[in-house]
Symmetry: C2
């Protein structure tokens, strides 16, 4: 259970914004809360930080409990600490976002959640606590990151087409991009490797498959790039 409702004065928690890509839509994993407050409502997953637990391990633990995943892209975004943000007491919360491949994950109920489900990010317009603000902040951060670092590949299968990548970018940025310009720019960065295979069983010209060049990828991750597309 997330909180001992009696006699806690202050605590820190983490909240996880877990992004996935499905049906060319950016989605976020919400849980149905098992405990009070807001019992039964859809909210961001999160938990108190344990006394002997490094801060960054808390969102990892939540993620693992919820999805089984352990090596996941995880970025700290912002800390929320208004006095009254939590109705039960003083809880300062640190928000993290993650990127997971939605089709490799079978989310399961967890200690703090009776149900788990993916929701389209841009359709949500109310959440308990300050979770909507947290979601917005994480979404903006993702949109910024995707333009300055090669992230987001975590959201795709191992082998993918250039159109998959474009779909991903369009889903994250929530807008249409020019196909030719996108391809030109993306290919020229040199983080994609042609695996010399093609899609099969599609009712149109089969697309080339690519994978990531991890070395270049890491380089870019370190020094960033400019993907103003």
């Amino acid at each position: 259970m997330p909180f001992k409702n009696t006699f806690f004065k202050s605590a820190f928690s983490v909240d996880n914004v877990i992004f996935g890509l499905d049906d060319s839509k950016l989605k976020v994993l919400l849980i149905r809360r098992k405990g009070e407050p807001f019992k039964g409502e859809w909210a961001l997953p999160g938990d108190l930080v344990h006394p002997k637990e490094n801060l960054r391990d808390a969102p990892k633990r939540v993620l693992k409990e919820l999805t089984g995943l352990v090596d996941v892209y995880l970025e700290q975004v912002h800390t929320f600490g208004k006095v009254d943000r939590h109705p039960v007491g003083r809880v300062v919360t640190v928000a993290y976002y993650s990127l997971v491949n939605i089709h490799k994950v079978k989310p399961r109920a967890a200690s703090f959640a009776s149900e788990v489900e993916w929701f389209p990010v841009f359709d949500l317009d109310s959440l308990p606590f300050d979770h909507l603000e947290i979601l917005h902040k994480c979404t903006s951060r993702l949109q910024k990151s995707v333009r300055t670092m090669p992230i987001g590949f975590e959201l795709l299968p191992e082998k993918f087409t250039l159109s998959d990548v474009q779909d991903l970018y369009e889903a994250v940025l929530n807008k249409k991009l020019d196909k030719r310009n996108f391809r030109k720019k993306f290919l020229s960065m040199g983080i994609l490797v042609d695996v010399k295979e093609y899609q099969t069983g599609v009712a149109h010209r089969p697309a080339k498959l690519f994978r990531f060049e991890t070395e270049t990828y890491d380089e870019f991750k370190a020094k960033g790039f400019n993907f103003e597309i």
Copy 2:
């Protein structure tokens, strides 16, 4: 005093990285610690967050106590929460940075500080706790922000020359920039207003003075810009 050394199990604090510009160098305000641990050492100013205090008000309070300033640029950067980052107990700390005009500030000792002094950022290579890491993170963030928003003007006097601005950018980015290109780009943004005055008493051709166009400035702050110089 910053901590009751006995019987505290966990707490959250804030740490302030207060930047100023002096002698064309980027400096940071450090305090000599009054209390244990690391009593007497130079460290980042900071304090515990009070129980009834909004998180963001804590760094404001520290800033006010230390400098007397109340309306100051303040940005949350990152939260540090390794279990052992503080020798006395579990303290999760939220780092903020601020920009202040070093010549308008007469820093004074505070409840947690016996002395206060400006240190050149790029010369520091050791600090207690994880304060060096905090400083690095804040410096990187400042360097990034200065390229994407019109900030940093807080570090300058009200009327200033274009060379002052360039000095500022060179100090923050810690590298030389091309004079003509800098001026061209900066002027073209339209956030500077010619105040039709000139420097006096300088042993060279006196420079034009400028001030900020607050409206445009706020616009840019909202939507950002690209200052890849």
